[in-house]
């Protein structure tokens, strides 16, 4: 199949960017979107044009590196799919496809479609962990976890930190990411000790990075390649208010 691509090109964070138009020729409908871009890049290189810079690593939907907004939807908008898993059969012959980077102040563009997501790392550093002595693997069932909690924790732990939630959100809010990271710890016994501290520290870091505020439109959930539920955001809102109340009252 043949497509016309309108791709965001930007030399670095400081330079202004603009859209360039390229033709994608003879693309197999079995190809993934990234493979299609590989083909286009081969062609650009042969013409002496700088190839389109984009990120990818696992190409099987688990690392969360690939990131681009395709025709207005992060990862192209197929349910539960990252760009690397997005097949070309979803596109029509001759379609014009617009490709943009994630747009958010805390995700500055590094080059073309690549953005710097270290603001997410700093949210994790602020509290998205548990403080324990590491050692040998504990015995299975040494610490009983109710099945339902284990499931909810695992659902949250599916978050690959790709940033599609921020990209899809009208407010560039990082709350689905942050709440998933809080949720996978707060459903488990190991996560309880630092639960309040974690909620306060992560939300404050999120805010100081310049992410926006959730307006409960649930675009993040619809865009999430791991289909993480906004129920985790509700739970985080509750945890944060409780933690703040405890802090105000001086509860030790």
């Amino acid at each position: 199949m043949n497509l016309t691509l309108k791709v965001w090109r930007q030399k670095d964070a400081k330079s202004p960017g603009k859209f360039e138009t390229y033709e994608a020729r003879n693309i197999s409908t079995h190809a993934s979107f990234l493979e299609m871009l590989d083909v286009v890049n081969e062609d650009l290189i042969s013409k002496g044009i700088e190839p389109i810079h984009f990120e990818s690593d696992c190409r099987e939907g688990i690392c969360g590196t690939c990131s681009m907004v395709i025709d207005g939807l992060p990862h192209g908008g197929q349910p539960g799919t990252t760009v690397c898993q997005l097949h070309m059969r979803y596109f029509q012959e001759g379609q014009v496809v617009t490709i943009e980077p994630w747009r958010a102040k805390p995700f500055p563009v590094v080059r073309d479609l690549i953005v710097d997501r270290s603001s997410f790392d700093r949210i994790i550093q602020a509290g998205g962990y548990i403080s324990v002595r590491t050692g040998g693997t504990p015995d299975a069932n040494a610490l009983p976890v109710p099945k339902q909690n284990a499931d909810l924790a695992m659902d949250a732990a599916q978050c690959i930190g790709c940033g599609a939630c921020v990209a899809a959100c009208r407010n560039a809010s990082g709350m689905l990411f942050m709440s998933a990271k809080m949720g996978h710890l707060s459903y488990l016994p190991q996560g309880q000790a630092e639960r309040s501290r974690r909620a306060l520290a992560m939300v404050r870091q999120h805010d100081s990075e310049g992410f926006g505020n959730c307006t409960n439109q649930y675009e993040c959930e619809a865009a999430c390649p791991k289909e993480i539920s906004v129920a985790y955001i509700a739970r985080m809102n509750r945890d944060y208010a409780l933690a703040s109340a405890k802090e105000m009252a001086g509860v030790e």
């Binding site: 939807l73 809010s173 926006g212 959730c214 409960n216 439109q217 703040s244």
Partner: protein
Amino acid sequence: MSTAAAAAPSRPNPLAAFYASTIGKKWIVALTGLGLIGFVIGHLLGNLQIFLPPDYINTYAKKLKDLGPLLWIIRFGLLGIFVLHVVNTIQLRQRSAAARPEAYAVERKKAASKASLTMIISGLILLAFIVFHLLHFTLTVIPTKDIHVLDPLGRHDVYRMVVGGFQNPLVSIFYLISMGLLCMHISHGFQSVFQTIGLRTRRLSGPLNLLSNGLGWFLFLGNAAIVLAILFGLVK
């Protein structure tokens, strides 16, 4: 060095930190929004007495006026709630706008409702409406037919004032549009409150959406019924 000043780490005041945070502000928007919804429901139920003989609504109005100092406490309470709601929503919108300095060339939505995307617009027009409404029927400074007549018992004839007010088609249309916007604001806002305060679960999301839309329509139809009944001379 062991002076007290050097030893004390500078920790943010917890209340100030909560108020400054995105989630803290959103909690305030939700709780004040819920308070405003309560008021709007009570206000409508009181006003539906326009469909009863004039004595009912005039007695009701007199009772409210006779609350004296309590009435002022309620009024200032409402004003406080309202100001907190408006100030915090505007601040949040500004922060969110700053978080997306460069717009997308192509934007598509999968989940967001029209109502949710226009909260700030419906809100700001409601603000203008509420100022007008207070000038119209509370401060009675907008020239209106029968605005200051007394009823046979010598009380302010609120019934005649309301009927006189809505016999003006321009005023009525402005009220109808505003009530449409209130309907939209609340159809998103009510279920949103439960998400913000952490009570919206996966199981409750469906029923809450239904309730939220129902509440929006109830407020629209109830208020519009008053305006339309007067405009078309069914209540006179």
